[in-house]
């Protein structure tokens, strides 16, 4: 267990030492989104009877939780692989399951820290109620873990920073941006509504938002089941890559 806690502590310390960049910058990005979209649309748009700025905040929070959880595990692994310092975690007797858990928990911690930061910063712009806080917590924890695991796969698979950037720009970004962060999918044409239902991030955003307003596009139980299933599949895949030492041990 000490090996696991040390690796977890190291991962926390790694992003905390550059918190301005790893926590501060994403909070600022979310604030800019809110100021621009909120200012332009707040007086014209209501979603599920909720003012647009209020509707937007939970989406932005969850988007930053997911993107930063992904960024934490993926950047840590790719940096360690490229600089060669990965040997320091491969030489000790740390079981692959502990390795997985430490990276996922640290990714989730960074995601949550950024999410709380965004929530605190946006409180000045709109009034939010927490109708069902347990749903908020469940989707934040599960979503952060799922994207932490995806980040591990990307970090293990990538051999260069541009491969990781490709993963981030062509998979993670479209999945999060087209998930209903900025809109309800029921404002989309039928075809795109159906497409959105194949995007697991849609369920994370929708379920997370339910915790704030008590209304959602899909029942939160359904969303939770989808997210849980995705997390199980991605985690099993990550664990199997770690067990085989794929792209880590030659």
């Amino acid at each position: 267990m000490i090996g696991f806690w040390t690796l977890f502590y190291k991962e926390i310390l790694r992003f905390w030492k550059v918190a301005f960049q790893t926590v501060g910058a994403p909070v600022l990005t979310a604030l800019l989104y809110l100021m621009i979209f909120g200012h332009v649309l707040d007086e014209h748009v209501k979603v599920h009877g909720v003012p647009y700025t209020s509707f937007l905040v939970p989406g932005l929070v969850m988007m930053q939780v997911l993107q930063n959880a992904f960024a934490n595990s993926s950047s840590s692994l790719i940096q360690a692989k490229i600089t060669g310092s990965i040997v320091f975690v491969l030489l000790p007797p740390i079981p692959y399951s502990a390795f997985f858990a430490a990276y996922i928990l640290a990714a989730m911690a960074r995601g949550l820290m950024v999410g709380i930061g965004v929530l605190l910063a946006t409180m000045w712009f709109t009034e939010l109620k927490l109708v069902a806080p347990l749903w908020i917590l469940a989707f934040a924890l599960l979503g952060g873990s799922l994207f932490g695991a995806l980040g591990m796969i990307a970090g293990i698979w990538s051999e260069k920073f541009d491969q990781l950037a490709g993963f981030q720009n062509f998979l993670i970004m479209p999945l999060t941006m087209l998930s209903g962060v900025f809109y309800s999918i029921y404002t989309l044409p039928n075809f795109w509504q159906r497409v959105s239902h194949y995007n697991p991030v849609f369920y994370m955003i929708d379920g997370f938002r339910y915790g704030f307003f008590g209304v959602s596009d899909v029942a939160p139980e359904t969303s939770l089941a989808v997210v849980l299933a995705c997390f199980t599949v991605v985690s099993l895949l990550t664990l199997s890559l770690l067990k085989r030492g794929w792209k880590l041990r030659t």
Partner: protein, 237 residues
């Protein structure tokens, strides 16, 4: 008593290249053993297989009786490796680096031993300096320190003095000799043959993935000449 390291018919391919071609040898506990050979002979691959950084395609490797694949946690606990590449984690200072490495090996409070290692490697004044700000020689010392934090009974030094000044070499060898005197098994790879000649009790010469000579240093040199001459003769055969 188990051998410190036991290798039986180890074969490793990289694509079509046979990097290790049936390597077998035993290193006894307490030995100061030299693993020598030209670049590409397979020394680092052999060390990587032993340390679990690479997986042998066939053969058996064990550290103090613990198989490196089926009983990898016990094998790794008993092994300390100083890698050949000058690698470091730029986020941490020297003390943090060593504390974290101790934790990876399951040791929570290790400051007394860390202080002793720092003193022996002349790193005490650099304990709170970030790794990025150290010179190459200092980074090399930290790599040695990282390999020793868990007091491994078997220590592998893969070209530890490459690019290192005379003062550090002398200090490092003094410390390593002391560890060997205390019972630690030392396995050394180096291109500085005079170092191997003066330090190692037994030497294996490797060429193209095979052990081509294995004997005590004295016996290898009994035909006459320095170890360097023996090395050149063997590699030409």
């Amino acid at each position: 008593m188990s051998a410190a390291v036991s290798l039986v018919d180890v074969i490793k391919y990289f694509g079509s290249l046979k990097a290790l071609d049936g390597v077998s040898l035993e290193i006894e506990q307490g030995e100061f053993f030299g693993l020598l050979g030209p670049n590409g002979a397979g020394k680092t691959t052999l060390i990587s297989c032993l340390a679990g950084l690479a997986r042998a395609d066939s053969g058996k490797l064990s550290v103090l009786g613990h198989d490196v694949s089926t009983d990898y946690r016990e094998a790794r606990r008993r092994l300390g490796v100083v890698p050949q590449e000058l690698v470091f984690d730029p986020f941490f200072n020297v003390r943090e680096t060593l504390q974290i490495q101790s934790g990876y090996f399951g040791i929570r409070k290790n400051d007394d031993w860390i202080d002793e290692i720092l003193a022996n490697l002349d790193l005490t004044s650099k304990a709170n300096v970030n790794m990025r700000r150290l010179s190459g020689g200092m980074k090399r010392r930290v790599l040695v320190a990282q390999a020793l934090v868990h007091k491994p009974p078997v220590i592998v030094l893969d070209e530890p003095t490459a690019g290192v000044d005379v003062e550090l070499r002398q200090g490092l060898w003094q410390f390593v000799r002391r560890l060997n005197g205390e019972g630690h098994t030392i396995i050394l790879t180096t291109h500085y043959l005079e170092e191997a000649e003066s330090l190692c009790g037994r030497i294996a010469l490797m060429k193209q993935g095979k052990v081509v000579a294995l004997d005590t240093t004295a016996n290898l040199m009994s035909a006459g000449g320095t170890l360097e001459e023996v090395f050149v003769r063997t590699m030409r055969q």
